[in-house]
């Protein structure tokens, strides 16, 4: 009797272990898909990634989960379009130790902006008041410096305390009818220099 009870307990433990291992692996694979699979659920336009399904009721479950994590309360594409830039022209993550130049021209939209977020998806922890540039302040062909210090730049996005892996987000509100995002239309990021050897 005691031996039979021992066998049953061992069997239950084995089933429980199998299910727990499955649950952990399943949850881990889902987390990995959302963390590392973003590119697969977004279009690539030049240096920018763009999810046309952001906020849409037709979004697939993965896109919906990624948008909820990276940009909860995003507007649908009829109202606004969101573009993210996370890597420089060489494919390296954006980092505070580098100086970048962002160049662009007016976009065919009612209003647009570029905002810098740290890798935690919130504004970088600095008091520079230089987290965003927008179309109310930039006209025609424009350039903005992305760096921890302003230097002589007329337009500046401060990366002070942004660390490694920060993100530039381009918001385009009420784009003109027929406007299609293209590599030529979107701003271009160029690395000017990097300090240290963390690249």
């Amino acid at each position: 009797m005691g031996a039979m009870r021992g066998v049953n307990i061992g069997g239950v433990a084995a089933w429980a272990a199998a299910i727990v291992v499955g649950l952990v692996l399943g949850a881990a694979s889902a987390w990995g898909a959302l963390e590392f699979g973003r590119a697969g659920f977004a279009d690539r336009i030049g240096q920018w990634s763009y999810s046309r399904a952001a906020g849409a009721r037709s979004a697939d479950p993965y896109t919906r989960a990624i948008i909820a994590r990276d940009g909860l309360l995003a507007l649908n594409a009829r109202e606004a379009r969101y573009f993210s830039l996370e890597r420089d022209e060489n494919g390296a993550p954006l980092r505070e130790s580098c100086i970048y130049e962002l160049m662009g021209a007016d976009l065919a939209a009612r209003w647009w902006s570029v905002t810098l977020y740290a890798s935690d998806n919130f504004l970088a922890q600095n008091q520079d008041h230089a987290e965003s540039v927008d179309s109310t302040r930039l006209r025609g062909a424009w350039r903005a410096r992305v760096a921890p210090v302003r230097g002589e730049a007329a337009n500046w996005l401060s990366s002070r305390s942004a660390g490694r892996g920060f993100v530039l987000m381009l918001r385009v509100y009420n784009a003109d009818d027929g406007w299609r995002p293209s590599e030529a239309a979107l701003p271009t990021l160029t690395t000017v220099s990097c300090a240290g050897d963390d690249s």
């Binding site: 199998a18 649950l23 479950p61 909860l72 309360l73």
Partner: protein, 177 residues
């Protein structure tokens, strides 16, 4: 089937279920947290957000160029009236279901004199004499107003205008009037 094989199948099935449940519930959990943070236990009222700064931590990727007003809504007591006062630059009212879908948006080009929306649960009766009725696919969600206010003085003006916004259960309004 060997006993080892049965355990492998059990792990595989549990893994697939866990994977899809994780993906399915992530936006719902995020929205639930956002509703709770914005409402702090209350619903159907506007909360005007402080100007977005590096200290802002309620919602990911907030824009520092907007003045935000958020109303965590709950339709369990019936329809909710949402009114938005006009603003002299871009503004929009957007409604989000509990799975994070943006199911309705109204902007100043479409509503020059402000927004006036009656929100009802999908499939429920529409109130009489409501000017614009919008059906929410979920009982709870978030209404969000964005007013373009890149400068500090714009933000202060937007804060004044936002005081005129309304987000309230029609049942509650009827009882108080």
């Amino acid at each position: 089937m060997s006993s080892i094989g049965r355990y492998v199948w059990a792990a595989l099935i549990a893994g697939v279920l866990a994977h899809f449940a994780f993906v399915h519930f992530t936006p719902r959990v995020m929205m639930g947290v956002a509703i709770d943070r914005l409402g702090e236990g209350r619903t159907n009222f506007w909360r005007f957000g402080e100007r977005v700064t590096p200290a802002s931590r309620a919602i990911v990727r907030p824009s520092p160029d907007f003045a935000y007003s958020a109303c965590p809504y709950d339709l369990s007591q019936g329809p909710v009236l949402i009114q938005v006062a006009p603003w002299d630059a871009y503004w929009s009212l957007s409604l989000y279901a509990d799975n994070s879908d943006n199911f309705f948006t109204l902007n100043d080009r479409e509503a020059r004199f402000g927004g006036d929306v009656t929100l009802v649960r999908a499939g429920h009766a529409h109130p009489e004499r409501a000017s614009m009725v919008v059906e929410s696919p979920s009982q709870r969600g978030i209404a969000l107003v964005r007013r373009l206010a890149p400068r500090a003085e714009d933000f202060a003006a937007a804060a004044q205008v936002a005081r005129e916004d309304v987000c309230a259960s029609i049942e509650g309004l009827t009882h108080t009037s």
